[in-house]
């Protein structure tokens, strides 16, 4: 069974078609990259899956349950979560609190008004494990805004992991990173991909080819290629879109 199925998806912004007739299926445990030139519709595609934008037409299924036009929090509760291209952490909360609040949403503590939030040890313990996973140990009590850029990126991933989703959408996980930070991130994504299904938008072609088991290429909202990395590398249409295709 496909974990995510997209049928005839279209999204128009006024006269501009950002997504055109996209028809895709993603299998459990695959690591699929979505690539394409700027403005190809990659981020829009993620936003529609996550329910942050509604499609003009088409349907989306998560494990055969239709999620088209569902509110974001419900989609998240089903087991999809994303990381953002533009950092989306909570700057005035500590690292620990950033992770803890993400775990808390799955619990029944949310409408507890009178206990201190730090009271719940079980949450703290789970948060500690996530912090270890994204190599932020030692930084638990730092405010998120005081982290270095690479640390913030890892926290971004950590917040998403803390939700324990089955499908993770990674929007440019290495954007703006220095070379050795990218190496660490590749390792991190690799270890996550052993347990989860990942969909990744990424501009760094080295990252894409070293990680993906499958690559989908979008150009002007359309899928122009879909296959294993070797096929994509040799695809003429892809080369054209990247090298000379953008008028």
């Amino acid at each position: 069974m496909a974990i995510l199925r997209v049928e005839n998806l279209n999204k128009n912004f006024g006269g501009l078609a950002a997504i055109r007739n996209v028809q895709l299926e993603f299998k459990e445990n695959e690591l699929c990259s979505v690539i394409g030139p700027n403005g190809a519709g990659k981020t829009t595609f993620f936003k529609i899956i996550m329910g942050l934008q509604s499609p003009t037409s088409g349907r989306i299924f998560f494990r055969d349950k239709e999620i088209t036009n569902s509110p974001t929090h419900q989609i998240s509760r089903l087991g999809i979560c994303q990381t953002f291209q533009i950092l989306s952490i909570f700057p005035n909360l500590s690292v620990m609190e950033n992770i803890r609040i993400a775990i808390q949403s799955k619990t029944r503590y949310n409408f507890n008004f009178f206990r201190s939030a730090s009271y719940y040890r079980d949450l703290k313990q789970q948060a500690q494990e996530i912090i270890q996973d994204v190599h932020l140990n030692g930084r638990e009590s730092s405010l998120a805004k005081n982290l270095s850029y690479g640390e913030k990126r890892r926290l971004e991933v950590g917040i998403t992991l803390a939700r324990n989703p089955d499908l993770i959408l990674l929007d440019e996980p290495t954007a703006g990173m220095a070379h050795d930070e990218i190496v660490d991130t590749i390792k991190l994504i690799k270890s996550i991909s052993e347990k989860k299904t990942l969909l990744m938008v990424e501009h760094n072609i080295d990252v894409v080819f070293s990680l993906s088991s499958r690559i989908v290429v979008l150009n002007r909202g359309e899928v122009i290629a879909d296959g294993v990395p070797q096929e994509i590398r040799e695809d003429e249409k892809v080369q054209k879109a990247y090298l000379g295709g953008v008028e």
């Binding site: 942050l52 979560c81 609040i101 503590y109 009178f114 939030a117 917040i159």
Partner: protein
């Protein structure tokens, strides 16, 4: 890092205890007990209002509706049914809570100016209805009440005609509200409000039903504003439809912005400054609102985080 965290918590509880001590001995310092009792009621109003502005980041410009409906409920129940004071307080909170649920439900999906304008228009609607229903509300002339004694039938009965007793009666509720709000802000629920303010989209992708949290906060805010209204009605022994008007809503906005939205204590300082100043300047000059306006503009231009924010900045810079 941990030391700093500890210091933060440490100092917060100290501020809490200090403010309790301050208001506990205030009647010994200030002889005009009426004014300081009024300050307490406005402080409760400000703290409740700031749950929305400071914690959720939504500016309600119609909080007079909850304050006023609380006050009116108290007055009407006292006049027509001569109920026990505590029942009046509970009923006032309840009515304010119902209004807050309805208005909140209809406006909580809006942002920024749209939210402010919607809440304002609902409150103004209530104001004009109250103005028209002169037989019930007394219109602009309002209703006068007789302050009932504080009593539990068969157990005790204390008259609140002495200003000092009235002060400590309101002080009790002030402490209660401060304690509740303090817990609330630090609770798991409070944390969710904080992340909604910091990054709403992210909160949604983490599975939080943002509207539900905002609405809950709005209702709680309305409930306690209603409490402030009932107490205010008992203090001034009077309620009129001006208590529902936008000027009242504006008062609490000004108070909170002057004091600072960043913490529980900002609105308290704002209530002190606003009430004292209004009282002082209005004696000196008829056009005293003009001066208050200048002060307000000065704060918005130069002290964006209010008095409390400036104090905090000064302290942290020293460390």
């Amino acid at each position: 890092m941990i030391g700093k965290w500890f210091l933060n918590r440490f100092s917060e509880s100290h501020v809490f205890l200090f403010s309790l001590a301050f208001f506990l001995i205030l009647p010994l310092i200030v002889s005009n007990h009426f004014i300081i009792t009024e300050i307490l009621a406005y402080a409760i109003f400000g703290i409740s209002f700031n749950l929305m502005l400071g914690n959720v980041g939504l500016l309600s410009f119609g909080h007079a509706l909850y304050f006023g409906s609380g006050a009116y409920t108290m007055a009407l129940l006292l006049i027509h049914l001569k109920v026990n004071m505590f029942l009046g307080i509970l009923a006032g909170m309840g009515v304010a809570g119902v209004f807050a649920s309805v208005v909140g439900f209809l406006s909580i999906r809006q942002y920024g100016v749209y939210f402010s304008m919607l809440t304002l228009s609902f409150a103004e609607m209530a104001y004009f209805i109250a103005l028209r229903l002169r037989d019930i509300t007394g219109g602009e002339n309002g209703l006068s009440i007789v302050r009932p004694p504080l009593q539990i039938p068969g157990l005790f009965s204390v008259s609140l005609e002495s200003p000092l007793k009235l002060y400590y009666f309101v002080f009790f509720f002030f402490v209660l509200v401060l304690m509740i709000m303090r817990r609330l802000v630090d609770s798991p629920f409070g944390r969710v409000l904080q992340i909604i303010r910091e990054n709403e989209t992210r909160a949604r992708t983490l599975g939080y039903n943002v509207e539900r949290f905002k609405l809950t906060a709005f209702i709680i805010s309305g409930l306690f504003s209603g409490l402030a209204g009932t107490l205010y009605c008992l203090i001034v022994k009077f309620v009129h439809c001006g208590d529902l008007q936008w000027l009242k809503s504006g008062d609490v906005v000004i108070m909170t912005l002057i004091g600072g939205t960043g913490s529980l204590y900002g609105p308290i300082i704002g209530a002190i400054i606003n009430t004292f100043l209004s009282d002082l300047i209005s004696l000196l000059w008829q056009r005293w609102l003009l001066i208050l306006g200048v002060i307000f503009v000065t704060f918005v231009l130069f002290m964006r985080e209010g008095v409390w924010g400036e104090i905090k900045k000064a302290i942290t810079q020293k460390m």
